[in-house]
Amino acid sequence: MEITKNNVVELKNIRKKYSGVEALKGINVDIPAGKITGLIGPNGSGKSTMLKIIAGLTQATGGKLEVFGKKLDYNLKDQIAFLPEINHFYDWMTIAEIINFTNTQFSNFDSEKASDITDFMNLNSEMKIKNLSKGMVGRVKLILAMSRNVPLIIMDEPLAGIDPKSRAQILESLINEYNAKTQSIILSTHEVLEAEKFFDYAIFLENGKIKLEGNADDLRKEKNKSIQDISKEVFI
């Protein structure tokens, strides 16, 4: 499916309250289609909440959300792959079993792609989750997300708490598998340094509000600074 719309996601005055606490305080942003967007912000800034709302995993308290130019419904949810921050696997399962299980859950899962990425990531698919390091679990999550043939992939902190070697492998396979003609990726991170060269677009979120957004290279040019340094300037 070729991309026809300019924006894959549009948020208009999106608010979210959790038991009296405002996690998102009116988010207005258009996320460009066919691009890799970095959602940057410190812990507790509202990144996870924003991504979960876009993926339809939680509902906004107010505002308007459009994904692929439409109101989000059950049919569209199948077109979104979501990589969660937490380890959501049963620890008695092997990597191969998890891949097979995921294959039964989604019609758009590409098993061949999954086994290619597993090889690329140097993972033995017979290993059980409980015997994997945090970095290896991070790699497995990436395999599952990138093996879905879907127009929108959302990744919540795919690099957090992961060793440098795994981080490099995760970013490399992400960029290898990413198809700019048909896919958009939104990726949240508080570790900007390694990821920033892959961002087309950057959104800086703090305290439930958007502080700055723009094309990554245009921001660099305008400020003569890296995205990492811009984030230091934005989040005081």
């Binding site: 960029i175 060269k197 087309d200």
Partner: protein, 121 residues
Amino acid sequence: MKLEYDASKPIYEQIIDKIKKMLVRGELEPGDKLPSQRKMAKKAEVNPNTIQRAYREMENMDLVETKRGLGTFIKEDDKIINDISEEMAKKTVEKFINEMKSLSFDEKEVLQIVEEKLNKN
């Protein structure tokens, strides 16, 4: 084409600069075909959209041309290389002069040092 990026500058511009340098050094020649955007993205380890932007900008600069179904080629025009050489030389000298000014050398002194060095070499 592995690149060490300066994250404080636009990455697409750094890719264009690298290609210009290759042209001036003769590692690339007019008429040469550039790798496909996908291949280039893998080689340069960047987002394919960044390569697309670099190629598009080079087309606007009349440095390359895209032939439908064939790929992207360096324009067959020797003047381009001369222009780029000149532009790069000017930029290098400008940078040098600014650096010397910041060290409080005046024009005469700068010239003197350059002449001395050139004669030595």
